[in-house]
Symmetry: C2
Subunit: 410 residues, 2 copies
């Protein structure tokens, strides 16, 4: 008898038909003799509806009250899924984050999980009940409702799986797994049978929204394997696991892209200690998360600084930077919100040379201009004009021969 | 400094504008130097929406899971109201039934309040916070979410007011108070400045939905005055208080009606001990609540039994009674779901004679046939054809001169 943690996202429980389908699927696994713990997100669109309600009242809702409101989305979902399973004749019981006791810190709207008391779940499992847990939410030491941030249900599932020492943590989504590239863009894209935690974290934070990056980090810390798979088919998906030697044989595992960024450049910045700290300190204070930062070597004691931010923060950031630029006596502000970030990811990069060069060559061959470059140990990202995104992804997929041979199996 | 408990219903917080309006009203009371505890219902329509979702999945939803789902309606409302108050610059804090700790028994969907731990509310009040509590919901000893049944937010408010030893419990609604009759039917209907708990319980259970009957009983037990008033005006409403001698001077305080009932008659029932027990035992097992029961004296060892039930249970009850009638060898089953119950209510009935006779005479004068009669110490109810409801209410209002002199002031 295995202990299986499954997580279903908002589209998997998007309407009554899908809820019933998911319920049948869960019951099958249970009837095959397994203990099943299910984590569920709010029904698709519900979290946005609740956010909108709160924002109709105030543009800056108090985070504590926002969490009280947002947590109801998952609470409705666990009740409905539990009913759907019971309607099929099986035993089920729902738990909120408060009831399980998923203890978090006090940082409302993006709390961190501190501890999970699994005793109540274990008891329900012993009594033969399929256990349904609300994703995305927890409770702090003062019994206040907290939430874990966007995609937080993934984190709930992984943390529960780790706390329960589960045999597997399955994350169900509307795609079949993790691909070498977006199959919607690249017809030859292949499903990766396995991918390392590190690669998955890069891919998750690069705009491919199959898994929350924090959830993968958590899984990595506890060495909990994640199986990313589709709730609509029974095909095996992608296993997110610890890196092994086979993985290094492939230089690049996948191509990711992100169209949700914008770029701001300040030219003629005096090259003096403390200027960057002042600029990015101000941006951080405004709650804007900066992604890439590029600063070139200084010429004549002046330099240019470019950085990327979420596109939704573009106007706010532009105004802010305008003010800072005047204070520090910088030159021009150049903004561009029609950019995209295209990235290659792979643990094999550490041992393969010339990977970045191959990327730049492939883009250059199509006359795609690279505006910014940023690298990490297992990733190279280029900012390009947004209109070239699809072309760039296809070209890179070909350049690294991701469509021609089975990937991840050496 | 007074401690005031206020309860706002679903229509009072029906949209963003109304929420803001209610928030301003609460802040005014707070800024006048009072401590304010606010109980709030789900936004109008939300509880029905959630019920519908559950019923789409199964016709017989598990009560525990239904409570998990339904409780979210009030949870969203407390968060939104708290945000609206904070947006006006005041301090506010929301509490779910679990957080306050409104301890109930285990009877899901219609739990009884056992105990309220007010320490957390007192602490919030000491810190100068307007305290917003979710109505309708509680938590049982196993930390499971429970709900108190329709209109349960009234009960939450009264129970909180009693536990906090509040100076007043204000129930805000969309009418100005309790009237001698429905002002929509009777143009001369007057607002009652005061009404006794007993009368209010009768009126509440007779279909005038300003206050939940259980809440009034709770208030009576703790001698907590309730002020029923409108959230749209500042006019004083109706005080629901302990009966005093002045009240007895008036024979009838008000006329109530209820169109949500249906009537079933079984003719030719053998007049033998145990028959009624069998019949109504079966009806109760099916979860159908019987209101009036009338059995006439027996003739030739046979009798007729009539009773009324909620109209929504009419078909279910008819089928059921059909089966029982065959078992007990009764005669015909007669059903009628186009009936109404019209009632006169007043503590003065105890000391005034001829009240019932005056009622029957007034109805007879309009040729309104009385199908069933039921009386209590302070009430007389008649079942009539539904189409005569409005006429009957007006005729009775006139017959007891409710429209001509100030009522309840002796």
């Amino acid at each position: 008898m295995a202990l299986i943690v499954q997580k279903y996202g908002g589209t998997s429980v998007g309407d009554v038909e899908r809820l019933r389908h998911v319920a049948r699927r869960i019951v099958e696994v249970s009837e095959a003799g397994n203990q099943v713990v299910v984590v569920v997100s709010a029904i698709a669109g519900e979290t946005d509806r609740l956010l909108q309600l709160a924002h109709q009242i105030t543009e800056t809702p108090n985070a504590r009250e926002l969490d009280v409101i947002l947590a109801t989305g998952e609470q409705v979902a666990i009740g409905l899924l539990s009913l759907a399973i019971q309607a099929g004749g099986s035993k089920a019981r729902s738990f909120t984050g408060t009831q399980v006791r998923i203890l978090t810190d006090n940082v409302h709207t993006r709390a961190r999980i501190l501890n999970i008391d699994v005793e109540r779940i274990r008891q329900a499992l012993r009594e033969g009940e399929i256990t349904i847990v609300a994703g995305f939410q927890g409770v702090n030491a003062e019994e206040e409702v907290t939430t874990l941030g966007r995609g937080g249900s993934d984190l709930t599932a992984v943390a529960l799986a780790a706390a329960l020492n589960a045999d597997v943590c399955e994350i169900y989504t509307d795609v079949e797994g993790v691909y070498t590239a977006d199959p919607g863009l690249v017809s030859t894209a292949q499903k990766l049978p396995r991918i390392s935690y590190e690669e998955m974290i890069e891919i998750a934070s690069l705009g491919a929204r199959v898994l929350q990056a924090r959830a993968v980090e958590y899984a990595k810390n506890y060495n909990m394997s994640i199986h990313v798979r589709s709730s609509f088919t029974k095909n095996p998906g992608t296993l997110v696991v610890q890196e092994d030697q086979d993985m290094e044989k492939v230089a690049v595992s996948g191509i990711a892209y992100d169209k949700n960024e914008a770029k701001i450049t300040i030219t003629g910045v005096v090259d003096r200690p403390g200027i960057a700290a002042k600029l990015f300190g101000r941006v951080a204070e405004a709650g804007i998360v900066v992604d890439m930062i590029v600063q070139n070597i200084s010429q004549d004691g002046h330099t240019d600084i470019s950085f990327t931010i979420p596109r939704s923060d573009f106007h706010k950031a532009s105004e802010l930077v305008d003010g800072v630029a005047k204070e520090i006596g910088a030159g021009q502000i150049l903004g561009d919100d029609r950019i995209a970030k295209v990235s290659i990811v792979g643990v094999g990069m550490r041992t393969h040379s010339g990977v970045a060069a191959r990327m730049f060559t492939a883009l250059a061959a199509e006359n795609i201009n690279i505006m910014m470059i940023s690298t990490s140990e297992i990733k190279v990202s280029c900012v390009i004009e947004e209109k070239y995104t699809e072309l760039a992804v296809r070209v890179l997929h070909d350049a690294f021969q991701l469509g021609v041979q089975p990937i991840g199996e050496g």
